[in-house]
Amino acid sequence: MLDIKSLMVFYENALAVNNLNLDVRKGEIVGVFGSNSAGKTTLINTIAGLTLHLKWREQRKGGQRITIVGAQLFEDEDIGKLSPSERVKKGIVLCRERHPVFRDLAVEENLRLGGFLIKNQAKVKKSIDLVYSIFPPLTKLKTRKAGLCSGGEQEMIAIGMALVARPKLLLLDEPLLGLSPAMQAIVVQALKDIRKLEVTVLLTEQYARPIMPHIDRGFIIENGTLIMSGTQEELMDNPEVISAYFGM
């Protein structure tokens, strides 16, 4: 479904993603693990088109020089030159790290914005109801300003927003970052519900333990370079992976 071939991303001369190959098949949940500054966010932002947007913006005003090389294929189609909104139309929707919500809008308005590109309002309404069924705590917060919600609730809103956009491929950037173990459990549970919706998921995380049992395959990157990849079992049997990403 998604094929990333020899992807390289430079910020000026600094290499953020180095010759990376990654593929996601339909229906899978794929994890990308790596420490802070390993290039996870750059990778996922590049797939969502945000890096390209930033590159255009910087180019126009003569700022930082960003270089993206390599192939990005989605359903056998080259998406490398598409803007973020065109990629959303194709079905690639990103939920960024640190639960970025529209803080001054109500929870329900946030979710409605997730369906911005869907013209059919009835469909948006249905998707919002679906989000409420995946994250029941949000039902009580409909009219509260998103900025006043807790971190965990904001993460639910952020994932909910991405779901309302009806993704084929959902990109989750560090969905568990900064959440309490109880909240992490809710998000992990939601991941199982999302799989039932036949949405393919590519997620990144620093700490692999809570999420590892739920992924099909994983990629481990360090300093922007892919150092290992494999199925869930292969990764969980590897002592190096266990010591580095399981905290054991």
Binding site: L50, K61, G63, P84, F102, R112, L113, M161, A165
Partner: protein, 291 residues
């Protein structure tokens, strides 16, 4: 008697300030770009309406619609052709838009639009006497339109899909991008809305006097003062700022001398920047200042 007329004319004055600054504040609030060409667009709308009404003799409503559409397109063009290239560099945005504003204003001066024949007609003539204060219909209409604009703005941003998207873009650009809202589309839209609002303000306010090039500079100054006073990105703050400045002006001009009222804007900008730089209701910015 004095108090009554101060109350009434303070309200009229507040409404005038509100209309003048809505466009500027809207564009700034939604796209983060201070459009210093606002005064130029305002004056251009005035001359365009004059041309359509007096020279071509079009019916009033048609002239209004054409003027609003043209200024909206002008706003959009300013973003698409100029601001887009310097987006994100605040100083360059200011210089670029200010240069456009001055070009428009001084072009009219150069073309000789400096005589006293330029004025727009009132929508309805006549006046109304309430208790001891006489007020013409145009000023009453200004209050009504200012109120309607505030309601329209609220409804646009909270009830429509596009308005909501513009608000979202203003609050969190990258999240908006990741749900498929295009940032250049949003900025173009907000510039066009700002232009349309400037035209509506010009059509309402200019009939009160003669169209004069310097009004363009004055409008920009007012918009800036009100936005600084009320706090950026806060519509409530904008309205509060207009009421404070509007009454302060009327009070100074009645109690001290009319020419002192011009000093009120500058004093307001200075005091606010010295005491509470985020403005009266600019809560978010203040939070960032604290961190």
């Amino acid at each position: 008697m004095l108090l009554e007329s101060m109350l009434v004319f303070g309200l009229v004055n507040s409404a005038i300030l509100m209309l003048m600054s809505f466009g500027f504040s809207l564009t700034f609030g939604l796209s983060g770009v201070a459009n210093f060409a606002h005064g130029g667009i305002y004056l251009l709308a005035g001359y365009l309406a004059f041309f359509l009404l007096r020279t071509l003799g079009l019916p009033y409503l048609l002239a209004v619609i054409i003027t609003v559409i043209v200024t909206a397109l002008l706003g959009a063009a300013i973003y698409r052709l100029v601001v887009i290239r310097v987006r994100g560099i605040a100083l360059n945005e200011v210089i670029a838009t200010f240069a456009i504003g001055i070009s428009i204003l001084e072009l009219f001066r150069w073309l000789g639009f400096i005589t006293y024949e330029f004025s727009l007609p009132c929508i309805v003539d006549g006046r109304l006497t309430l208790f001891q204060t006489t007020l013409d219909y145009q000023r009453i209409l200004i209050i009504v339109v200012a109120f309607l604009m505030a309601v329209f703005l609220w409804a646009l941003t909270h009830k429509t899909r596009i308005g909501l998207a513009l608000l979202g873009m203003a609050q969190n650009e990258y999240t908006a991008l990741s749900v498929g809202i295009d940032s250049d589309w949003a900025a173009t839209y907000s510039f066009a809305l700002g232009g349309a609002f400037a035209a509506i303000a010009a059509l309402m306010i200019l009939p009160l006097g003669i169209i004069n090039i310097n009004i363009g500079y004055e409008v920009l100054l007012i918009a800036l003062a009100v936005t600084v006073l009320g706090g950026l990105e806060s519509t409530k703050g904008l309205i509060l700022g207009c009421i404070i400045l509007g009454y302060a002006q009327v009070i100074t001009s009645t109690l001290i001398a009319p020419h002192w009222k011009e000093a009120v804007y500058l004093a307001a900008i200075l005091i606010v920047l010295a005491v509470k730089p985020s403005g009266l209701l600019g809560k978010f910015k203040e939070l960032e200042e604290r961190v």
